[in-house]
């Protein structure tokens, strides 16, 4: 398909982004092979040790070794982002297409709903929901579902806008004159054209979901027993790591998070160029 020609060769941001993601995956996979992940549990090493030859990234106040902790935390954080972002984009695509293609009252309902929910401060709602439900302790998957609740609005709006303009194009009329019905037009004609845009939306949604999850976790509302990056930061604050000078506790998760966000942003920006030829820099 012609659009794939434009991938990485001309697109610096996309190349960098994908490279960074690749690095992340390599960290996770290779780490899983070479490092014993049990060392990420408490009391697997002496507590509060600075980085040394024995503990490459040191240990936290509860004896978790930092390097295994990072290797174990990355996939969980990514999983939360992927589930929440994925659900958000799937919901957004369905709602956006329905609203944008069929218009009329269904469009008014969906549009008003997304506009109203967009104005609600997401983090505040998430905090309320999470703290109500987490009395017994949240699992990572529940977190993902909670974050997904508030990640559908932006994809709905942007996809709706794309569909609105696309349905006016003559090839939609042409498809109708060739005997296609509405649903077939949506799936065969419109969806493939929006594919690059949907992928870009997805990556952006994942980044937003991870950010929301980190926010919740840093407030202590995350899964208590899973070594996610956000929870690590929470524990480091809880145990006063900054004041005690245990930089190896909070620095690694921050570095990894920055890496994740730069990777996701670059990829999303590069995908935007791919999706929207006007943004291309040739």
């Amino acid at each position: 398909m012609n659009v794939f020609r434009y991938l990485p060769t001309d697109n610096l941001r996309l190349s960098i982004g994908l490279l960074l993601i690749l690095g992340l995956v390599a960290f996770w996979v290779l780490g899983g092979i070479f490092i014993d992940l049990d060392d990420a549990n408490p009391i697997s090493g002496a507590p509060s040790q600075a980085p040394s030859m024995k503990y490459w990234l040191g240990t936290d106040a509860q004896g978790r070794q930092m390097l295994p902790l990072m290797v174990a935390g990355v996939p969980i954080t990514l999983r939360i982002g992927l589930i929440a972002g994925g659900l958000g984009v799937i919901a957004g695509t369905t709602l956006g297409f329905t609203a944008g293609y069929f218009r009329g009252w269904i469009d008014t309902v969906i549009r008003s709903a997304s506009d109203v929910v967009l104005t609600i401060p997401a983090l505040a709602v998430l905090v309320v929901v999470a703290s109500t439900l987490s009395s017994g302790g949240l699992s990572a998957n529940s977190m993902a579902l909670i974050v997904a609740l508030l990640s559908w609005m932006w994809p709905t709006r942007t996809i709706r806008a794309q569909v609105l303009s696309m349905r006016e194009r003559s090839f939609v009329d042409m498809a109708r004159l060739s005997g296609m019905g509405n649903y077939e037009i949506i799936v065969r004609e419109l969806l493939p054209n929006l594919f690059p845009y949907l992928v870009a939306s997805f990556v952006a949604a994942v980044a937003a979901a991870i950010l929301a999850a980190i926010g919740l976790e840093a407030l202590g509302l995350g899964p208590q027993n899973d070594p996610t990056l956000g929870m690590t930061i929470y524990w480091s604050m809880f145990y006063g790591a900054v004041l005690s000078g245990w930089w190896w506790w909070y620095a690694p998760p921050i570095v990894v998070l920055v890496w994740i966000f730069v990777a996701l942003y670059m990829t999303s920006s590069g995908l935007d160029s791919w999706a929207n030829p006007k943004l291309r820099r040739t």
């Binding site: 398909m1 012609n2 659009v3 194009r169 003559s170 090839f171 009329d173 042409m174 498809a175 109708r176 004159l177 060739s178 005997g179 296609m180 065969r188 004609e189 493939p192 054209n193």
Partner: protein, 337 residues
Amino acid sequence: MSLLLEAQNISKVFSSGGFGQQQKTVAVDRVTLNLSSDTGSIIALAGESGSGKTTLGRILLGLETPTEGKLLYKGKDLTKLGNQERKTFRREVQAIFQDPFSVYNPFYKIDHIFNVAIGKYNLASSKEEARHMVEEAIRAVGLRPEETLGRYPHQLSGGQRQRIIVARVFLLKPKVIIADEPVSMVDASLRATILEALRELHKTDNMSILYITHDLNTAYQVADNIMIMYRGNIVEAGDVEKVINHPEHPYTKLLVNSIPTPDPTKKWTNLSTLSTPPFRGTAIGQGMCKFVDRCSVAVEQCKTSDLPFYLTSDTRRTRCLLYEESSPVPVDAVLDY
């Protein structure tokens, strides 16, 4: 002569704006016209932008629903057709659109427009037969399959793309073609080729063509009959040579005179010799001649009455008081083609 499409008193009103500030635009105002199969004529529908000609074309194609009036296909109301009948309607009434680029889905190769139609209408029983049909259609419009099939739209020129749309119509063999400005976005040297291809189609397969345009020159060359549309109304209709060489309605006269003739010895008449319209600035609405604010020979009655057509000859009708000696024909009387 079997009636294929009957537009009965069709009007289309667009309303825009939100709560309380609704603005209504009357795009099509009570147009009645019939298109029959097997007489196969080429009718031009001419007008400027805002005349409603594209909207009327879309209504005839079933892509827009009229606000008032009915569209009948083979005697049955379009909205009441069964699934199978609707499919036949879709196949028999085809279109050629203006923009040779946006008619193609950029995701697919150009083969897609043929394959979808062949698939949905079961036109071929095997892949070889389908391929054969497509190649034949492409050759029929003067292109070579090796140079066009398997390519993406942006790899072909505008002229080639438009010809392929004509090839698609050739393949489908519809009864009626609605061609909306098929050559206005194509280079001058290619226009004649494409229009000639359309004329050939009409001759060999006897299809009726509704040629929507603002270019009276090509309308003259291509069509047998012409309807002049102004602000939603058909103001004059008749034989194309007579209407263009001897226009009756003041708007038709204005239109014909405004065309720049490619003959430097016949210059445009000096505009300052034309008299100012007496009712300039009048607000245009229903119940009056819509041309009254620009017409230099308008009289009071033009502002207050909803004019009928006047039959100035067997085949000519004009909606202007200048011809009130001729027999009047009501506006919803059928225009038969």
